[in-house]
Subunit: 150 residues, 2 copies
Amino acid sequence: MIEIYTDEYFMKEAFKEAQKAAEKDEVPVGAIVVSNKKIISRAHNQVEQFGDITAHAEIIAVTAATNFLGSKTLDECTLYVTLEPCCMCAGAIAHARLQRVVYAADDDKGGFMRFGKKMLHPKTKLEFGIMHEECSQILTEFFKAKRAAL
Amino acid sequence: MIEIYTDEYFMKEAFKEAQKAAEKDEVPVGAIVVSNKKIISRAHNQVEQFGDITAHAEIIAVTAATNFLGSKTLDECTLYVTLEPCCMCAGAIAHARLQRVVYAADDDKGGFMRFGKKMLHPKTKLEFGIMHEECSQILTEFFKAKRAAL
């Protein structure tokens, strides 16, 4: 039997969210939360729209998922996000105790991995690199266009 | 001339917020943001009330302050918080580029200082220890009462 609901399938869904952000002139990052192979929340970066520095895709997706499940933790959920989370988002992910986090592009400057995986909950499994190229490229193009417009 | 608006004055205001949290059976942490000696936002932990793991005092106070100023950054503001921020809140504080952060009680287990001051923006000044005893005690008493009720 062919497995449809692969990590790549879900990362593509997160990437669709990043594309929505780009269309709104937001830094293109998208995230989804998956429980038992179902997408229970989807979000994209909305910092500019809300004028809220905390409105990152991961924060919105995680809080929407906890709200949906009526639970403060997401022990059986996976977060797919197109960019390595920042420390703020890694902290929220730690509070939510996600079972798994999968991110695509890395962020050497702003990502939490500067401080190591120990910022997450010890039970959280971490994977990265799936769709790295597409998810990096959409960011590179966004910032290139921003610089050209200056 | 006697200076009224000292760090202790403002930390007392943050402590009042922590007391409000305790009254609502929330982990008693309070925070305020001060701009030019004026309190522009005040908040307490509301995780239980909102069922939202991101509803920490610092997150609410910082987003309310950015909203009040109509700015994404708080370059000329000081955050007073009764407990050492967690990584999520430190990340938000970094995004908001606060001029100064003053915290009271330390949090060896959950605080961001496990990872060092470099989690904050390089321009952010950090101080701690003011009203350490009162701000620690309200937390100790809260958790003691919680354990006794089990």
